[in-house]
């Protein structure tokens, strides 16, 4: 079984200080000081792919996972960690320039790069930068395979690929019937496992396969949604800080806040 997992390296938005967003009135804001992370739903996709591999191994089924990312950054640390936790191959597409808010182009790059046939392509529902949530639709459409969104978990069991999907009021369970694209949202396995130093030393000579964007010979894809501005919305509610002691503050909550709803 061959599985492709797509992941994006993004800035950890939780660590961007408030002041830096305040000056973000154009696209030229400074985030270089913020640490890189794997976009959270892509991280779920990677961990779930590894769990799929674990469950397939129990039934003596080989599962090879390739991880694909797009971007020019130095992702060596991520790449080493992915090899160490059990990813067979990592591909980095370079030279694409800025791809935020261009889901169709991203899907075209993934489709062109994954010329090798994969049984499954996994990715996150959306990334934490552009929050588009559209790449999977375009990718499945280009590859002419079904697209299953909002996956929670995927496992190999009794010779079948079992998928758990989030739905509005619970979970849906089913068996995957053929090649498809699956995107992960909130998952029971949200975090990528840790690698040990020994695991990392074992793969120290492995490196990502680099694919140059220009070698993909992509046809021109027009982006009909153009970002024209970015603004910080000031939503300060002018918080009134309660400075009394515990009893006084609780009494205030009872008298002035819960009282509003008759409690």
């Amino acid at each position: 079984m061959k599985v492709l997992v797509c992941f994006k390296i993004v800035k950890d938005m939780d660590y961007v200080i408030d002041r830096d967003w305040e000056i973000a009135n154009s696209s030229e804001f400074e985030l270089s000081y913020v640490k890189d992370v794997i976009s959270c739903f892509d991280e779920s996709a990677l961990e779930n792919a590894l769990r799929l591999k674990d469950s397939a191994r129990l039934e003596n089924v080989q599962c090879d996972i390739t991880a694909l990312t797009i971007g020019d950054g130095n992702y060596d640390n991520f790449v080493k960690n992915l090899f160490a936790v059990g990813i067979s191959e990592v591909v980095q597409v370079k030279g694409c320039g800025e791809l935020d808010f261009q889901p169709e182009l991203v899907s075209e790059i993934i489709a062109k790069t994954s010329v090798e046939k994969f049984d499954l392509i996994l990715l996150g529902n959306e990334d934490s930068t552009s929050n588009c949530g559209i790449t999977g639709f375009h990718l499945a459409n280009k590859l002419n395979v079904p697209y299953i969104l909002s996956a929670n978990e995927i496992t190999y069991n009794n010779g079948e690929l079992k998928l758990t999907k989030n739905i509005d009021d619970g979970l849906m369970f089913g068996k995957i019937t053929g090649d498809c694209v699956v995107s992960f949202s909130n998952s029971n396995n949200p975090y990528l496992r840790f690698s040990t130093l020994r695991d990392r030393l074992k793969v120290s000579s492995k490196t990502a396969t680099v694919v140059e964007f220009t070698d993909l010979n992509l046809s021109n894809i027009e982006n009909n949604l153009k970002l024209v501005s970015l603004k910080r919305e000031n939503k300060d509610l002018n918080c009134e800080m309660l400075v009394g002691n515990l009893q006084e503050n609780v009494q205030f909550i009872m008298d002035n806040i819960l009282n509003e709803v008759g409690k």
Partner: protein, 301 residues
């Protein structure tokens, strides 16, 4: 310009959101059409509070929105399709947009037309910035719409049934989550990482005693402290309670997006610089455990 407004209706609140979105569309274009999709077990009266001539579809909600998207695309030539944001609405938008070749934008906050150009706004960078996009060509967008109390009368003459099936999956079974009324509750008790797992019961008791519901931030649900169905925020539920008491949440904007429509927000956090205070009406710097204990004591006593 022709605009179609579509809602996949899970409940009566979605009907009100549909009507709110219809009002918005009427302010943008003279030609506005209305489509609503209900689950196959919905029983209709002869009249429903939807815009006149609303086209009604019924399909199995567990089915694949791709087939519904294809069925509606066959008979719908529209410049802009505005869809009420919910999980199925977002799925439908993606499939409909790729089917029709339209640009797709999910979870948008506003739309305007200026000099014949269409502009759409959407929160990006994990809800930290508002992006404005200029759209050329056809557009499909899901919208965070406001509820409308407008009373419309739509006489139901015909309902189109769509057999959706499910592309890519078979042998489907469903396990429903423990039912909760998070989206409809009057009082919300929200917990963040500052709340310890072994004290969860206290917060559940507080929510119960107040006749409210408990919800949590993404880290809290990912850590298994409370169920995923109780996640609040842009990848969980949006709550519009009259009162929200937030315990130990830092105030990351994806979480704040889920409580911003609450009436009064009171937050308790030991960190005086926590971002949650900026998005609260009242704030207390203190130990969440002491406050939940004291609140329970007062309410019970």
């Amino acid at each position: 310009m022709k605009i179609t407004v579509l809602t996949i209706c899970n409940n009566d609140i979605d009907l009100k959101k549909h009507n709110g979105l219809f009002e918005l569309a009427e302010n943008l274009a003279s030609e506005v059409y209305s489509i609503c999709v209900f689950s196959s077990d919905k029983v209709f009266n002869t009249e429903i509070n939807l815009p006149k001539n609303t086209v009604i579809f019924q399909c199995d909600f567990l089915g694949d929105m791709k087939k519904l998207g294809g069925a509606i695309a066959e008979n719908n030539e529209t410049d802009i399709m505005l869809i009420t944001k919910n999980t199925l609405g977002n799925e439908f938008a993606g499939f409909f947009g790729t089917k029709t070749g339209a640009s797709v934008m999910l979870n948008c906050n506003g739309i305007s037309v200026n000099g014949g150009e269409v502009y759409i706004t959407k929160k990006v960078y994990s809800e930290n910035l508002m992006g404005e996009f200029q759209c050329n060509g056809k557009l499909v967008a899901t919208m965070n719409s406001l509820k409308s109390d407008m009373n419309y009368t739509c006489t139901i003459n015909h309902v189109t049934h769509v057999d959706t099936g499910f592309d890519g999956l078979e042998g489907i079974t469903i396990v429903k989550a423990e039912e909760n009324a998070l989206e409809q509750c009057e009082i919300l008790v929200a917990i963040g990482r500052g709340v310890k797992k072994n004290t969860l019961e206290k917060y559940q008791q507080l929510a119960e005693k107040l006749g409210g519901e408990i919800g949590g931030t993404r880290p809290v649900t990912y850590d298994g402290i409370i169920d995923l169905s109780r996640m609040i925020g842009n990848s969980g539920k949006a709550v519009s309670a009259k009162v929200a008491i937030v315990f130990g949440a830092s105030g990351a904007l994806p979480f704040v997006a889920g409580i911003e429509n609450c009436g009064t927000i009171l937050s308790i956090n030991k960190d005086e610089n926590a971002m949650i205070f900026k998005n609260s009406n009242y704030g207390i710097v203190g130990d969440v455990q002491e406050y939940v204990d004291m609140l329970l004591e007062k309410i019970q006593g």
